[in-house]
Structures are given as C-alpha cells and as structure tokens.
Symmetry: C2
Subunit: 189 residues, 2 copies
C-alpha cells in the first residue's frame, strides 16, 4: 500500500469507520469492531492503514475535503455579500448533515491525533475558516453587520457547529431554513 492510499476500497472503509467513531467515539471503537463492520478480520485492516490513528485522520480529512468542496461550489457566481453569507451558512449546514459522521468525529476526536496528522488537518481547517473570514469581512465592509470580524466568524461557526448536537434530519427545518434564521438573527434579513 502507498502512504496516502486513495483507493475506492479505502474510501468505503473510511466511511464505515466514520460511522462507528461517530456512534461510539474513537477510543471506544476497537479495531475488531471496525473490521467486523467492514466484513474483514482485524489483521487485514492494517493492510489499508498503518495504524488506527491513520483511520481517524482519514475520516476527518475526508470530511474537511467535502466541506471545502461544497463551500467552494456554493459561492461560485455569487457576488452580493449577504447572499454569499447565506450560501456559505447553508453549505456548512449541508455538509454537517450529509457528512455528519465525519464532522462529529472531527469535532470530538481531534485530541487522539498525532502531531503530524493534526498539523495537516489544522492547515485544512485554517483554509476553510479563511473562506468564512472573507465572506464576513465583505459583509462588514458593506455595512451589513458591525463588530469584531474574527469574533463574528467564531460566533457564527460556533452556532452552526452546535447544530450537530440537536439538529434532526427528519425534522421540519431544512439547512436552508436554519441558514436563513441565522442570517436574520445577526441582522442579514
């Protein structure tokens, strides 16, 4: 196997791992549980991954790539700051919902990562937050909202990330509704 194997099989395994890590937590999920859910024996896992932590890193990485792709796509073509904010919030909520397992894992389990893995993921996170910062800066520059700009970004992302604690996909509210509600709350009718 290569160091950063991106085979289709590996993607499948990572998705299964994401589900178990999300449901039970990383440390409580044993390699035997993972292997069972994947339909292989525990030893075979280490053909695809060098160690357990690498699986965790892959789960989070996939989630972040997905988030970045969805956000980029949502913003293309939009120029109005208010519309860009709402589109980004909606994209964020969509990926939280669609790739919920990976994002819950990212929120909860980053302390189990090695320093090397953490550095890679922090870079990706910073890049994503930079996207948010630009959109918020534009809103402030246009006079739509007031206040400390990094602080607004942190409040907004905090409010959105917290949705994984309570948001029910079967409920009546769509990501669109939530993004709209957040916009209204901070004065972006």
């Amino acid at each position: 196997m290569t160091l950063t194997n991106n085979s289709k099989r590996r993607k499948e395994l990572v998705a299964i791992a994401a589900r178990l890590f999300c449901e039970q937590g990383y440390e409580r999920t044993t390699v035997r549980m993972l292997a069972d859910a994947m339909g292989i024996k525990s030893g075979s896992l280490f053909h695809h991954f060098n160690d357990k932590q690498e699986i965790l890193c892959a789960v989070i990485q996939d989630g972040m790539e997905s988030a970045m792709a969805i956000a980029d796509h949502a913003l293309t073509g939009l120029t109005d700051p208010k519309e860009r904010f709402k589109a980004l919030a909606k994209a964020h909520l969509s990926t939280l919902l669609n790739d919920r397992n990976a994002h819950v894992v990212a929120l909860y389990e980053w302390r189990s990562l090695t320093d090397d893995s953490l550095n890679v993921l922090i870079d990706m996170r910073d890049q994503y937050e930079q996207l948010w910062q630009q959109v918020i800066d534009d809103c402030v520059a246009a006079g739509l909202i007031k206040g400390d700009q990094p602080l607004i970004r942190r409040f907004a992302l905090g409010a959105l990330n917290w949705t994984v604690q309570w948001y029910d996909a079967e409920g009546e509210k769509t990501p669109d509704d939530l993004a709209q509600a957040l916009g209204e709350l901070i004065g972006l009718g």
Copy 2:
C-alpha cells in the same frame, strides 16, 4: 463510602480528574494516571468511586452545579430583558472559563456515561437550558429580537460553548466583552 460521597477529599480528586480528562480525554486517561496525579495508588481510587465512569459523572455534575449557581446569582435582581440576557451570557462565559476543565469534559465525553448517569445529567442540563429559554422568550416578547425562540437559544449557546475552542484567558478580551459582542451581534446593543 456512601453512594454520593461529597467529602472535601472527593471534591479535590474530582478536580484533578477534570484536569486530566480535559487534557487527554476520558478514555485515554487511565486509573493509574489519575491515581498518580492524585498522589495515591490506583487501587485506592476505588475507595472513593465505585468505578471510573462515576468519576466522569462527578466531574460533569460539579461543572453543571457551578454553572447553575453562577447563572442564578447573575440574574437575581435584574428585570430588564436585555440586561438579563447579557448577564446570563457573561455568567455562562465566566463558568466556561473558571471551570473550563469540567465543561470541556461535559462537551466532549458524555458518550462514555452510563444511561443512569446520563439521565441525571440531562435533567440538570434541561433545567439550565430552561433558564436560558425564559430569558430569550422575554427578549422576544419585549420586541428586542425576532425569530424562532428555541432556535435562538441553540444558536446563542452554540456560539458561547464554541468559545472553549479558541478563547484564551490570557488574551485581552474579558467574558464581559464577549457577552457584549454577542449581544450586539444579535441586535441587543
């Protein structure tokens, strides 16, 4: 020992456990690590607690009791909805800062609790959120903010809880500043 021992010694042990659980996570913290940090042998731990999970529960319980006490105290005497909101936000941030270890553990590690422990803690959490809901309902009733009221509560608590991820006690911003900034962001100048 009694089932719910509240001795001074136990409080000390719980505070030490909170620190380790916060720094390394519950599952990665072994009873031997806990005992070392407490200056006793691992076996002696089980004189104070029935099992490891009970320590986790005690950590979270202490944090919640602290949060509730600070919030109650902050609200006594205040009647103006806007002032009550800001006082509650400030109280929330203060307890997040003062009892940071316990609150980080509560946010990250509730999945390791038994059902019995979880039920107790969920009741406490619901009680605390009820306090928030009333304050927000009053703001909406007074026409200070608009929107779905439980949703506002969730956005606000999300924004505030997220501060444990980035807030630096050594920085220049006080809990007061942050509470003020959040108030302004949602139109409670």
